[in-house]
């Protein structure tokens, strides 16, 4: 047995780093974070006792740089390294480097990582143990003809997968032979960048299958136990988004077979630590067929559902077995309690092909009653450099329906503003009939595309517009330096309504409103009148009754609303509203935009008497604002004459060498009407 760990470095970022630190701190361990510059302000960096900055920006330059990580461990005096998941978690060379440094590697041995981490080798092991595997073949060499031969042997449709991969990275679906070569090249590129290993293979694509996996755990005494199964069928772009335990769609006999096979497989390689054996299950009831897919030699994102139903802390167990402690529990002592469901919250737009969204998280308010493992907080910046997962959220309840309801409500009532997320889509999935019936297969989202683009109900869209309007109104009132007692827009001669203009998803909308007595507000949204009662406004919310329904709407305005500052009125304002289970992003165009060409300083005349030293445009040229047109030298100084407006040069009135008087015209530019610019409100 090794000495106990005292200082643990986590070679990872975001929510998993925080998750590991939490357990480490509970066990009295000192912790070390490593971070790339884009993560400098991330919560996990501050959560650790010590943090070591890495040099570089991309994952390859930082979290995948073994040398830097080992140097960081040395610098911080860490005696153990936990790799988290992703990045180098399944890289045996990194594990070996950690061990060579004399540190504890919190994970399986490099040998078993190498064996089981290779999907090809793992399948060979499975085949030896009589586990059915989907037809597959390795892709070797650079000859597309050879690739085709391998693919034909497997049969279409198929998946190109990264041998070292996981998490959908390096995975490409191929429907027919024509798409194969491109898919292989793309998968190799992605695999090389994500895992440092470009090896890929092709595997038969099984339609209408469930993705079910078994959590196993081994210790150095040779004991291997399982902690039940997880179903992770609901995926987007081959990445899991909803995970649960137990599986709602597995027959008892299939389950038994799967659990037993997983333990056997792990035992056959004397597996140490946490691992996952993944299967595809096709068919239902007694007709179910089971295929071994791969083994993940790491802790998985979805380990939290297993923790919920078993009551174990899997990170704590990893730390125990890593120093040679026995597991301390036998298979008989593992009890399963209730049902747990996890969702992954991503900064992405499900309605736009899961396009990642970046920006500042202007509000991050988690709802109680569920487990949040979050990598961000209010003010965090979501960068394009890493995986856009913001958090995983886990609900645990006696039954599946209840767990789904608890989780859906948590997602509907949390407040995440600043970046577009898949929260609404996840809630819609959990509330959908097919999900509640357990009809979950890996093509779930393809079969239910309506869940991706669920639109805010009309009545709520209206309420959100009113909330955004009255929030700004209330803040302007309370920020007013004078006459704050007077109602907004008050005029002694009566007068017209106030108006607020917003764009939602690029669609312009107008809210007209008139403040009455005791919180009564007459509103008109897109021409439809309504009665509103304003109960209160705070910086972060509006308590509002719209058309007879009262609710508190969380509102985040991403810039100041003070009417006292002209500068604030010259730029668009983005406002996020959450209420009634939905979140809306609204963009308010500037009240007083700075007109193009408004800040012309010089213009197209000579500012002083002097000599033209260069003419840089010709008649007929189109010029942009700020484009250099003429140089005039006077009193040893060079004056740059630039275009104040975009337009067409209709005449050049001077040439190089000319002497010019002050204010003499140099170039004639006919302004062109700028094209209508969108508000950028698409979200």
């Amino acid at each position: 047995m090794r000495l106990p760990i005292t200082r643990l470095l986590v070679a990872n970022r975001g929510e998993i780093a925080s998750r590991i630190f939490r357990t480490a701190h509970q066990r009295g361990l000192s912790t070390v974070a490593v971070y790339a510059p884009p993560d400098a302000a991330a919560p996990f960096v501050r959560m650790a006792d010590l943090a070591v900055p890495l040099v570089g920006t991309s994952a390859g330059e930082t979290y995948l740089d073994v040398e830097q990580l080992i140097a960081a461990a040395r610098l911080a005096g860490a005696d153990a390294v936990h790799p988290g998941y992703g990045f180098l978690a399944e890289n045996p060379d990194f594990a070996q480097a950690v061990l060579d440094e004399g540190l504890v590697w919190v994970g399986p041995t490099p040998d078993s990582m190498r064996l089981m981490g290779s999907k090809v080798d793992a399948k060979a092991v499975a085949t030896r143990l009589d586990l059915p595997v989907p037809p597959s073949a390795e892709i070797v060499g650079d000859d597309p003809a050879k690739w085709s031969a391998a693919a034909e042997a497997v049969g279409f449709p198929l998946l190109v997968k990264a041998s070292a991969g996981g998490g959908g990275k390096g995975m490409r679906p191929v429907l027919g032979p024509a798409d194969l070569a491109e898919a292989v090249r793309a998968a190799r590129r992605e695999a090389a960048s994500a895992f440092g290993d470009a090896t890929v293979f092709v595997e038969r694509y099984l339609a209408q299958a469930r993705h079910i996996e078994v959590q196993i755990f081994g210790d150095s005494q040779g004991q291997v136990i399982h902690l039940g199964e997880r179903e992770c069928s609901i995926q987007r772009r081959h990445q899991k988004v909803v995970e649960e335990s137990p599986s709602p769609g597995i027959a008892p006999e299939t389950r038994e077979l799967m659990l037993e096979a997983s333990v056997t497989l792990a035992r056959s390689v004397a597996y140490l630590g946490a691992g996952t054996v993944e299967f595809l299950v096709v068919g239902s009831g007694g007709e179910q067929e089971l295929f071994f897919l791969e083994m993940n030699t790491r802790l998985q994102v979805e380990h939290a559902v297993t923790e919920a139903v078993t009551g174990f802390d899997l990170v704590a167990m990893q730390l125990d077995v890593a120093v040679g402690e026995p597991l301390g529990i036998t298979q008989d002592q593992v009890r399963f309690d209730g049902h747990a469901i996890e969702v992954r919250v991503y900064a992405e737009d499900p309605a736009a092909g899961h396009l990642p969204s970046t920006g500042t998280v202007s509000r991050w308010t988690e709802t109680p009653g569920v487990r949040w493992d979050s990598g961000v907080e209010t003010g965090s910046v979501v960068t394009p450099y890493y995986d856009p997962m913001l958090a995983k959220v886990v609900a645990h309840a006696p039954g599946r329906t209840e767990a789904a309801a608890v989780l859906a409500r948590a997602l509907r009532t949390c407040r995440v503003h600043g970046v577009t997320t898949n929260l609404g889509c996840l809630a819609a999935v959990l509330e959908s009939t097919p999900f509640l019936q357990g009809a979950t297969t890996t093509d779930f989202l393809d079969r239910h595309p309506d869940l991706l683009a669920a639109a805010t109900p009309h009545v709520l869209r209206r309420a959100h517009l009113v909330a955004a309007t009255l929030h700004a109104q209330g803040l302007r009132r309370s920020a007013a330096s004078v006459l704050s007692f007077a109602p907004t827009g008050w005029r002694n001669v009566g007068g017209s309504s106030r108006t607020a203009t917003f764009a939602i998803g690029g669609q312009p909308t107008m809210v007209e409103y008139r403040m009455g007595a005791a919180g009564a507000v007459e509103v008109m949204v897109d021409g439809t009148a309504g009665a509103v009662l304003l109960h209160g406004v705070s910086d972060e919310s509006v308590d509002l009754e719209v058309d007879g329904l009262r609710a508190v709407y969380a509102v985040t305005a991403e810039s100041a609303v003070s009417g006292d500052s002209p500068a604030d009125e010259s730029s668009a304002r983005t406002v996020w509203v959450t209420g009634g289970g939905w979140t809306t992003r609204l963009v308010e165009p500037p009240r007083f935009p700075v007109a193009e060409g408004a800040s012309v300083v010089g213009g197209l005349v000579a500012p002083v008497p002097g000599t033209v030293t260069a003419v840089l445009v010709a008649a007929g040229a189109e010029v942009k604002v700020g484009e250099l047109l003429v140089l005039v030298e006077a009193m040893k100084m060079e004056h740059r004459i630039t275009a104040g407006v975009a337009g067409l040069v209709t005449g050049v009135l001077v040439s190089a060498g000319d002497s010019v008087e002050a204010h003499q015209a140099l170039v004639a530019v006919e302004p062109q009407v700028p094209a209508e610019t969108g508000d950028g409100g698409a979200s």
Binding site: A480, S481, V482, L483, F485, A486, P487, W490, N492, V493, A517, S562, G563, D564, S565, P566, A567, E569, S570, F592, P593, V594, A595, E596, G597, A598, V600, G603, V605, H663
Partner: protein, 457 residues
């Protein structure tokens, strides 16, 4: 409503008001080109001069939005001499440290050219502003020059060549934006004290009830305390001398957070009321407390007993106090304003900072019926002195016509048409209007009087 029931029935071609620009309370004077192309008639001139007076006495920056056809030429005789004062006022405001900002959106020519010309800051809209002393036809006639309007007075020319334009705006919104930036950079600081209560309580009694409290017929008395409690913060009113001179209600309150002394009539003024009012005004001046006069007054009491009791001397004390008081005065007309009571209660001619009227307001030297009656008595006396018999029936149409004329000339509409007030307001808005007016007054120092005229004892 300025100009209503006058010889200038279209009224003013300008809109004037108080508004907040970039957090600064300003007087806004804006041409309204929809009235005679913004041509300035006598009512426009009177309104503009009043607006400038408000800017001066309350120390409020003046923002002008100019687009005017110039003088209303058929009425030139009525405006040429009084209107000239506006340019003097502009530079005197500037000299007093009160900024003047003018945004020119259109024509501002001839005399109107001095509006930007006399302002501290000018913003001219490109392609729209035209500022020159003489337009192309006049230039042609005067010096036989063929001048181009843009060359003569366009925004570009004034921005680049003449220097009359400090800022060049590309369009209206851009002009407004730049105007707001100019006001923001004034770094304006009000000289008066801030409200003593940041978040004032609304009145405990519903201001909407004010509609039912005032009498449509000013001869029907109503309790002015019912008005006060629907205007002041929390309906709290600390009454002064409640048992003495009871038809003049005096006391202290806060209005939109500002401390204020209130004098309010419940009808006739007697000697006690006049003395009480004079004392109260002096007390408020000692504590630099602004005064609110709420007029519902049928006049000073007449009759032998009261004359012998010295009501002239006592009335004089009140007029002395109100004339020499230097704290801001606000006057609210909620019913009758007849006779010298109008003076003692800071009527228009006593230069209150603001005067506002309710629609039921009546104002005249005395009630129409009383005036007609007095006229009848005088006529009878004259007839009988001549030894003739007074024909009551024959005089009746004359008396009725006179009564009707006085009635017509004493309405709130007639009064506001003649700029005897600063506007008719909805009674329910009284608190907001007075709050805005009080806040405006506090842009200037609030300081009580050091001395008064000799009080006749």
């Amino acid at each position: 409503m300025a100009g209503h029931d006058t010889d200038d029935p279209l009224g003013a071609g300008i809109v004037t008001g108080l508004g907040v620009v970039s957090g600064v309370e300003c007087v806004i004077v804006a041409n309204d080109p929809t009235v005679k192309g913004g041509a300035q008639g006598p009512t426009s001139v009177a309104k503009a001069l009043r607006a400038m007076e408000i800017a001066r006495v309350n120390r409020l920056p003046l923002v002008s939005l100019a687009e005017s056809a110039g003088a209303d030429l058929p009425k030139q005789a009525e405006i040429f001499i009084p209107g000239g004062a506006s340019f003097k006022n502009l530079t005197q405001l500037s000299a007093a440290g009160i900024p003047t900002v003018t945004l020119v959106f259109g024509s501002s020519t001839a005399g109107g050219a001095y509006l930007p010309g006399m302002s501290d800051y000018t913003i001219l809209q490109r392609g729209a502003a035209r500022v020159f002393l003489g337009g192309p036809p006049l230039v042609k006639m005067a010096i036989d020059e063929d001048a181009d309007e843009e060359e003569l007075g366009g925004a570009e020319m004034h921005a680049r060549t003449s220097g009359l334009a400090d800022y060049l705006a590309v369009d209206e919104v851009d002009a407004l934006r730049q105007g707001r930036e100019v006001v923001a950079h004034l770094r304006w600081r009000k000289r008066g004290p801030a409200p003593v209560t940041a978040v004032p309580d609304p009145p405990a009694h519903d201001p909407d009830e004010l509609l039912g409290i005032a009498s449509a017929d000013v001869r029907t008395p109503f309790e002015v305390r019912e008005v006060i409690t629907r205007v002041v913060d929390g309906s709290r009113f600390e009454e002064f001398k409640p048992l003495y001179g009871s038809t003049l209600v005096c006391g202290w309150a806060e209005l939109c957070g500002y401390p204020v002394g209130i004098l309010a009539n419940n009808g006739i003024l007697f000697s006690e009321e006049a003395q009480k009012g004079a004392q109260f005004i002096q007390l408020c001046n000692r504590t630099d407390t602004p005064l609110l006069f709420i007029q519902n007054i049928t006049g000073f009491m007449v009759g032998t007993r009261y004359e012998q009791g010295g009501i002239i001397k006592d009335g004089a004390k009140l007029i002395n106090a109100v004339s020499n008081s230097t704290v801001p005065h606000l006057t609210l007309m909620v019913g009758a304003s007849y006779g010298a009571g109008n003076y003692g209660m800071a009527g228009r001619s006593y230069d209150p900072r603001f005067v506002f009227s309710w629609p039921n307001h009546r104002i005249a030297v005395m009630g129409p019926k009383q005036l007609a009656g007095v006229l009848t008595i005088v006529a009878r006396q004259k007839t009988e002195k001549a030894g003739e018999v007074f024909d009551e029936a024959a005089f009746a149409p004359l008396r009725d016509a006179f009564e009707a004329q006085v009635e017509a000339q004493s309405t709130a509409l007639y009064a506001t048409g003649h700029l005897w007030d600063d506007g008719i307001i909805d009674p329910r808005d009284s608190r907001t209007v007075l709050g805005i007016a009080l806040s405006a007054c506090h842009s200037e120092v609030v300081e009580g009087a050091a001395r008064y005229g000799v009080f006749r004892m």
